[in-house]
Symmetry: C2
């Protein structure tokens, strides 16, 4: 191994030694993000941004299939507007950035940089919606938002981050609830199919719900260290915002009624999930569906006659079935392998003089390191099939990992034992009292992740914290 | 004409009566933009945003073909960073929005909301670039920027607007200049091919160039009222920013050198150009290439048996060759026609009982109102051909309009006459003294738009303003 190659590989801390450091190493070494002179804000480098572009494109398509249209609302919100819905402003005001001057002049009213845009959408809908014919309104925007966090980490928590926020208005509460759950389904399917990350779908407790919402639904994914990452949320507002902002429509009988609303969002946090679910000690491992480059062709002994043209031709052919690049730089093959692995490119194709003579090439999976020798005649078919297999295997492995990191706790002692010995989620019954959530959080660091939709079985009759009669099954866990 | 239809049509001021009012009417009635409670900022409604999405997608593809990669840098710039390049801060500081508080706390240093990101890119490149192997860096970002303008108009001038800004770093000045001109070519081709808007390509005078640039190149388009709209610019910085920020690389001989840089941008202003170049008294007229909906199928007597299913089938068939919608609402056909015209949809397909019986349909061009009856058997071919024809014709008409609105002035008297009697550009020689530009601007409201690349002929030997020996031919005009 040449000196340079060693340098690249050595720089990564093992994820079993120090997971947090491993994460930072991968983010930097794979070229995903970089710190900036603006404290708490990050630079999305080409690979990090390309991941977001692929996520955006796929989700946007899925949103539009359900009738959603894109719009763009102002970055700034006047303070008086933010204050209109009481719970909402209490939730967000402490962490917003305030603009007080425009050019040389002090502003008459402070304006904040949007932390989320419910208030702007409400202000817009107030005039935009007149009759039942205007409903539903299914609008979404792709933008950045700002929350003045004290502690920040790449992708997971930064003062500015990229996301989408959908905001819809409906004639009835039933329509709005249906949309809330539909969008949660879109998110869940997307994260599982496209990012190969299994999720738990459920409802947040009141303590964990969005400021101003009647109900918040969530998808929760599990990282390699067993911690949860809330990966997308969908909120049902009832007519709370509509009453605060006066958003009314005249129905078929010409009667004035309040609309019912939803909002739903997913952010660049999910890139953090991709890293922490799939990555390994050699760096990033990207699911083929989201990988900006799916295949890297690496020529061996590329100075030998015929190798580079053959590698170029191979790249051209593969370009018809996948996103492929050719590394024809003058670095050594070993260095190229390390780079391709660090950047998580799902498949490497090696082509050297012996391969060429035998009319074959070597496919190497990033996820399992498995090597297959395939005939050059079948390479398009083989690579396509391999990418599908990798996508499926990555999901299955992540699902097995998650399933094997869920334990049940029947009482508080078992809960405390599990939280310290069994990384992952704990299933435990809950009485419905926020005081129990509070105590669990204070004493163990775990929060209620959600009340799951799919498996609301009664694993005990009493609350895992206080022992009083239980109401719901809750997934608990430490979280990002 | 039913009462409702009248209402829609009447609401538009004629563009020959009051062009400014016509513009505002079209923006609102076509559903492009809406005013918001945040003064000076606008809401991009679905049609306005969909235009931007199409522009973005096409330009992004063209950028990437030249090797550009997308990134995303922070929205905020610390004041100390903005101040590093003297000309640049003088140009922008008077019109930036200042953030002074994060949550409850006063910030130690003011930060501004980016008016443009040269300073952030420089700060990033300073660490990101080490050796000649890292060059060129060809980065771009799609984002919004903020300039605290006093007077605002939809798309043309708003406090926040959407754009892209490319920022590149090169080993030599020649490489950087080549890139500056390449990007101007990308913009010019895009605006002409895709938006069907002819442009004049040229170089800005020093007075009109970008704050901090050595040279600014521009494409200028001409609106229906004869005024110019600067539609995209590309800047060459030399090593000015590199010296201010200390961006150095080691070349092949291990010698430290400063990089040479460029930046280039296009914004949602061009949507204003689409409106003002192509629109008419019935509303928007969209070039097919950029139109979110290219064809609207409108059934006639849709309650008659067989009409709606046939219209639906027609839409499905057309969906394979273009972006098509079916208006099957219960509005009258006349109302549907008005809406389709107002929203600028290039082709309307009418299908009624008589058409169906004759196995035909009626194609109506939005731009010329021309009607053609075509066989349903050939409809895909006919519609595809018609869309191509419309795109070409719209460009040709706009080109004829521009060419017929360029006059020459040989002295100041002729200049003043032309500016008041001949809307459009004036070609006039210039001595190179900014004082002449100043005087022309003060006395006539015209500014130097550019020194054209293509037709630097000497139409006179003396400056059109002062009569001293002339250096260059300049296009002059009033501008948005």
């Amino acid at each position: 191994m040449a000196k340079d190659e060693k340098k690249l590989v050595e720089a990564i801390t093992s994820r079993d030694v120090d997971f947090a450091q491993w994460y930072t190493d991968v983010v930097k070494k794979a070229g995903l993000m970089e710190y900036s002179s603006m404290r708490g804000c990050m630079i999305y480098k080409p690979l990090g941004y390309a991941l977001w572009e692929n996520i955006q494109q796929e989700l946007d398509r899925r949103f539009k299939e359900t009738g959603v249209e894109n719009v763009y609302l102002p970055l700034f919100i006047p303070e008086s507007l933010l204050e209109k819905e009481k719970d909402h402003v209490e939730g967000f005001a402490p962490e917003v950035a305030w603009v007080t001057h425009g050019g040389e002049n002090k502003l008459q009213e402070r304006i904040c940089v949007r932390p989320t845009s419910e208030t702007m959408f409400c202000d817009f809908y107030k005039n935009d919606i007149e009759s039942y014919r205007d409903l539903p309104r299914l609008y979404n925007q792709w933008c950045s938002v700002v929350r003045w966090e004290k502690e920040t980490r790449p992708f997971l928590r930064t003062r500015e981050f990229l996301w989408q926020e959908g905001h819809t208005a409906h004639a009835t509460g039933e329509d709005a609830e249906e949309r809330t759950l539909l969008m949660l389904k879109v998110y869940g399917d997307f994260v599982e199919d496209f990012l190969a990350i299994p999720v738990i779908r459920g409802k947040k407790t009141d303590r964990e719900k969005f400021a101003g919402a009647e109900a918040t639904y969530t998808i929760e994914s599990m990282m390699y260290d067993g911690k949860a990452l809330q990966s997308a949320t969908s909120h049902y507002f009832g007519d709370g915002f509509a009453r605060a902002f006066g958003i009314q429509y005249s129905d078929k009988d010409n009667e004035l009624k309040y609309v019912h609303q939803t909002s739903w969002g997913i952010s660049t946090r999910v890139i953090g999930a991709i890293i922490m679910v799939h990555g390994d000690d050699d760096g990033l491992v990207l699911p083929p569906a989201v990988a900006p480059t799916q295949v890297m062709v690496i020529p061996i002994q590329q100075r030998k006659e015929g190798i580079l043209p053959a590698a170029e031709e191979l790249k051209e052919r593969l370009g018809k079935v996948c996103r492929v690049k050719l590394d024809d730089t003058d670095k050594s093959p070993g260095w190229k392998f390390s780079e391709q692995e660090m950047r998580g490119i799902p498949v490497r194709v090696e082509l050297g003089p012996k391969d060429l003579a035998a009319c074959q090439c070597v496919l190497v999976r990033r996820d399992t390191r498995e090597k297959t020798i395939v005939s050059l005649d079948d390479v398009e078919t083989e690579v396509t099939a391999l990418l599908d297999t990798i996508q499926k295997d990555m999901y299955d492995r992540a699902k097995d990992f998650m399933d094997s990191h869920i334990s049940d706790a029947h009482d508080y002692q078992e809960f405390c034992e599990n939280i310290n010995t069994k990384p992952g989620y704990i299933r435990g019954m809950w009485c419905g009292d926020p005081a129990c959530e509070e105590r669990i959080k204070d004493e163990t660091g775990a929060t209620s992740r959600c009340m799951p939709f799919d498996d609301q079985e009664r694993i005990a009759e009493t609350c895992v914290c206080c022992g009083k009669p239980a109401k719901s099954l809750v997934y608990w866990g430490r979280a990002y």
